[in-house]
């Protein structure tokens, strides 16, 4: 499945952000979009719809689970919750992402040595 949204930063980035949001608190799709856009200071212009294929992938991999419920604003919503394996996955993803980011930073700023 190579079907990632064209505005994804890189494969898996959206999933990572979703998992991170859900770690803080369970949420439904609309809330997730709001959350990600606010936290990124609207720098990440994600098409709202592109969230859903990512959510389905996470559901299928059992990294999150979903339940229908009634929200505080009295709406019928499908709330997603991160699972134990979702947490483990997120940890791995973040650490590998950090290493990658470090590597990219080194290449882009060759003057700075990692030691300093």
């Amino acid at each position: 499945m190579t079907e990632t949204s064209p505005r994804d930063l890189f494969p898996g980035a959206l999933e990572m952000m979703i998992l991170e949001s859900l770690r803080r608190q369970p949420a439904h799709g609309y809330a997730l979009v709001q959350h990600i856009q606010q936290r990124s200071n609207n720098l990440l212009q994600v098409e709202e719809g592109s969230l859903y294929p990512a959510l389905q992938r996470l559901l299928k991999a059992k990294l999150v689970k979903a339940e229908w419920s009634i929200s505080s604003t009295n709406r019928r919503v499908r709330t997603y919750q991160i699972t134990a394996s979702g947490l483990r996955h997120l940890e791995q993803q973040i650490s590998s992402f950090e290493r990658m980011f470090e590597g990219i930073a080194l290449v882009l700023n060759p003057g700075k040595s990692p030691a300093s």
Binding site: G49, Q56, V77
Partner: protein
């Protein structure tokens, strides 16, 4: 096994997803409205923010889909819906393909059965049959066979066999059966093992009539002895002589001549008793075929050289009996080259024609798909505009093509199976155990499906370029009103090619049918009307040679006494029957060195009674017929045909009263000249023939030619019944087959008939394909230009002009295609002339027939589109815009 529950839960998963997304958008709308947007504007913004809903949903669903199968299944369902929406296109495409696949499957199966499939013996690949280098047959005399068998160093045992019919009496109801007389080593050299009991062996043979044994074929054992194992050791009567049943041959073994299934096998050494051939005469070639397994490492060429050296030795040792003797080796399947080669040529021709059918069908499919794609260009553009990928659309297109291919292939294959079953059950020549085992096998199925897929996909691909180049904005904006230019496009070229191919098929089938009809009304050198034949062999009823002439005379007299009978002749064999005639080499009177290479001609030989010429309707050109005084005590005389006289004596006039010499040096005086005729086949070159008095060389083989007085109602039937009764009164043990003369031509006409039927069928198929092709083209061009036609009608165009505009092009293409096809077809029929007697392309009736047929097809095919064009109502059309 994760996917098993997902399959059942998928529906719920998808429902959840849809609802969730819907709610998402609603929440966004509410949010935007709270920010002060109008409902309408809020909805718009929400949708923009969300992105392409359908696409998102599809991608989300794709996560759950069982990777390939589910998408394929979805495509199949979609294609199914699409095809159901255009039943006309679907039916036309499927039928077109079914016709082509069916025709090819039938021809391929027949070819598979005739040519590709070896005999049912172990190690069939190394089995070769002997064939004379200078004659298209494999007959040998018994002494020659023994020499070849014992002196060669190339074969693991050389076997020989002959066919005969005999009367089997198992205690009740004697009946006539076809048997195979086989050399003692037959089963052992072929490597066969009995299904039951045991076979006879070479060690059982001790000279003539020393091995009265029978080995049944499985089929005969099954049908005549009801699978009774107790039949072993039983003694039965064969032509009234006792024979012991030894065993049953393997189930799938039907003897060594393809399609000719004998009832059982008897040792060849029993022939003198059953049939009466001479086992010691070196010059009489009566063994039907000889074959054997080559030793490992020996090539057919080496083996032939080995046999040639034996042949040279025999010629040197027996110069009086043997001519030049050379051999070639052939696959035994259908009697080597003798039947095999013309058959192969015919099958190759048929394969070519069915290949053409396939081509025509493909051209047809191509234009159908192209027209459909053009019709759907708007839909494709719309789907592209809505965010569908080109890949997706192409996949849909190919799914449709594949479905049509498979459906067409399946329908075609089913049809062909029905046809082949019928063909296999059919016994083409009465009284002969010929079964065309042409049931399709896995090879045929595979070939048909492959053909269907390849042709379907290839021509389903025609519109690909169109899809790839579609610019959605242009098409949606402009509609699809492009009008074809002056130049022919690919679709029209395809149509012309298809029509040309169909015209070729129509032409060749008309030529063949004309040829056959003409050959049926030809004069063969004897009459057909009012003549009934009775055929028997007195040896089967136990008559010894000395009792034969008297019995035959009694038979003639009995026939003559029947009411309504005009005259009766008797002969040992008749022209244009399956058995054919004997033949013998003859010499001019002044030849003293009677070796075969000095022979004047090899003449067909008929032994006849005095009244034969009158009864058979063969005209005596000059001289006299025989009398009952032409017997053994009087000088040898002969009536020869014109061709014989010309070849041996130089001219017909100089033959009467002169002498020629038989093989043994006997001088024979020519007393009469008979007209030429056809003797073995309708397409043969002129044959030299001598008629000899039956009393001077008696034969047990008896064929009565009974001519009824013309003008009798139901005469044939009454004569046949009366004849049977009269002959039974003479001897109740006589096995007689009675048939009208024209019926006996069945066998001779078998080939041409089959050829004509096949060509006729192909011609009809070609015609049907051109109808669908032209119809498709015409219907398409009318529907494309309906608007234009409407405007023309509104501006006052006449019916003629409308028709001209709508269908002129279709007719032009038809004319070009037919012209090309006619020329090609006439060239192709030159090939036909080899099979179908008098198949000549230079026949005004055929030419006119083809032109008429194609014109009629064109009219038929354009009828509906023409009606549609004429009924154009400009008001309705213009209002629709």
């Amino acid at each position: 096994m994760n996917w098993i529950p997902t399959i059942f839960h998928r529906r719920r998963l998808f429902d959840d997803l849809s609802e969730e997304m819907q709610l998402h958008i609603e929440e966004r709308v509410e949010h935007l409205q709270r920010e002060g947007l109008t409902q309408k504007e809020a909805e718009r913004q929400a949708r923009i923010a969300f992105g392409n809903l359908a696409l998102v949903e599809e991608r989300s669903r794709a996560v759950w889909q069982w990777p390939r199968m589910a998408t394929v299944w979805a495509d199949v369902r979609f294609a199914h819906r699409q095809l159901r929406r255009s039943p006309g296109f679907t039916v036309a495409a499927v039928l077109t393909l079914a016709l082509a696949i069916g025709a090819n499957a039938v021809v391929f199966s027949v070819m598979n059965a005739f040519i590709l499939r070896p005999l049912n013996v172990p190690d069939a690949q190394s089995l070769y049959s002997l064939q004379h280098g200078d004659a298209p047959d494999g007959s040998l005399s018994y002494p020659d066979y023994l020499d070849l068998r014992d002196r060669n160093r190339s074969f693991n045992g050389l076997i020989a066999y002959n066919f005969a019919s005999a009367v089997l009496d198992t205690g009740n109801n004697p009946s006539s059966v076809w048997i195979q007389e086989a050399s003692g080593n037959y089963f052992d050299a072929l490597g066969l093992h009995p299904y039951l009991g045991h076979f006879f062996h070479a060690s059982d043979e001790h000279g003539p009539n020393s091995a009265p044994y029978i080995v049944l074929t499985y089929e005969f054992w099954h049908t005549h002895f009801q699978d009774d194992a107790g039949v072993l050791g039983r003694v039965v009567l064969l032509n009234k002589h006792p024979f012991t049943i030894l065993g049953v041959a393997p189930q799938e073994f039907h003897g060594t001549l393809l399609f000719f299934n004998p009832g059982f096998f008897v040792p060849l050494v029993e022939d003198p008793l059953l049939v009466g051939d001479d086992m010691n005469a070196r010059g009489t070639r009566w063994l039907f075929q000889t074959m054997g397994h080559l030793k490992p490492g020996v090539t057919p060429e080496q083996a032939a050289a080995d046999l040639d050296s034996i042949g040279a030795y025999l010629q040197k040792t027996y110069p009086k009996d043997e001519g030049k003797m050379t051999f070639v080796l052939r696959r035994p399947s259908l009697y080597g080259d003798y039947l095999g080669r013309p058959l192969k040529a015919f099958m190759a021709g048929l394969m070519l024609l069915t290949g053409l059918i396939l081509l025509a069908a493909c051209a047809n499919l191509g234009s159908l798909f192209a027209a459909r794609a053009a019709d759907r260009s708007k839909e494709v553009a719309l789907r592209l505009a809505l965010g569908s990928s080109r890949k997706r659309i192409l996949r849909g297109l190919f799914t449709e093509a594949t479905m049509i291919s498979l459906a067409g292939g399946a329908v075609g294959l089913l049809g062909s199976i029905v046809l082949l079953r019928a063909l296999s059950a059919w016994q083409p020549i009465p009284n002969y155990p010929i079964h065309l085992a042409v049931n399709p096998d896995a090879k045929v199925y595979a070939a048909a499906v492959l053909l269907a897929l390849v042709s379907g996909l290839l021509f389903g691909a025609v519109p690909v370029r169109q899809v790839l180049r579609t610019n959605p904005y242009e098409v949606v904006k402009a509609g699809s009103g492009r009008i074809a230019g002056k130049r022919m496009n690919a679709r029209e070229v395809l149509l012309v090619a298809q029509i040309a191919i169909c015209a070729v098929l129509v032409t060749s089938s008309l030529v063949a049918i004309r040829g056959l009809i003409r050959s049926l009304h030809d004069h063969f050198g004897f009459d057909i009307e009012n003549i009934t034949l009775a055929e028997t062999d007195l040896s089967m009823a136990g008559y010894s040679a000395d009792r034969v002439p008297a019995m035959q005379k009694r038979m003639i007299d009995a026939m003559k006494a029947l009411p309504g009978v005009e005259s009766v002749g008797l002969a040992d064999s008749l022209p244009l029957t399956v058995n054919g005639s004997g033949d013998s080499i003859v010499f001019t009177d002044n030849t003293s060195d009677l070796r075969p290479s000095n022979a004047a001609t090899d003449a067909a030989m008929f032994h006849i009674s005095p009244e034969y010429f009158h009864a058979a309707g063969t005209t005596l050109l000059s001289g006299r017929a025989f009398t009952w005084q032409d017997d053994k005590s009087s000088p040898q005389v002969a009536v020869v045909n014109k061709e014989f006289a010309r070849k041996v004596f130089g001219s017909a006039d100089s033959a009467i009263g002169h002498f020629y010499k038989m093989k043994d040096g006997t001088r024979v005086q020519v007393v009469g000249i008979a007209e030429d005729g056809k003797y073995n086949s309708l397409t043969e070159d002129p044959v030299t023939v001598m008629y000899l008095p039956i009393l001077q060389s008696p034969s047990t083989s008896t064929m009565l030619v009974v001519r009824a007085r013309p003008g009798l109602d139901n005469g044939q039937l009454q004569t046949a019944t009366a004849m049977r009764n009269a002959l039974r009164k003479l001897d109740t043990g006589l096995q007689v087959s009675i048939e009208a003369r024209d019926r006996t031509l069945t066998a001779v006409l078998f080939g041409p008939r089959i050829a004509t039927i096949s060509l006729g069928v192909l011609g009809v198929m070609g015609a049907m394909l051109s109808i669908t092709g032209i119809f498709g083209m015409a219907a398409y061009s009318v529907s494309k230009r309906l608007k234009e036609l409407g405007i023309r009608v509104a501006l006052g165009a006449q019916r003629k002009e409308v028709l001209q505009a709508a269908l002129g092009r279709a007719f032009k293409l038809l004319a070009i295609g037919s012209g090309v096809g006619l020329v090609l077809g006439l060239l192709a029929t030159k090939v036909l002339a080899f099979i179908v007697y008098q198949a000549t392309p230079r026949d005004p009736l055929v030419l006119a027939g083809v032109v008429l047929a194609m014109a009629a097809l064109g009219l038929l095919a354009t009828w509906i589109p023409a009606q549609r064009a004429l009924s154009v109502n400009p008001l309705v059309l213009l209002r629709e815009e």
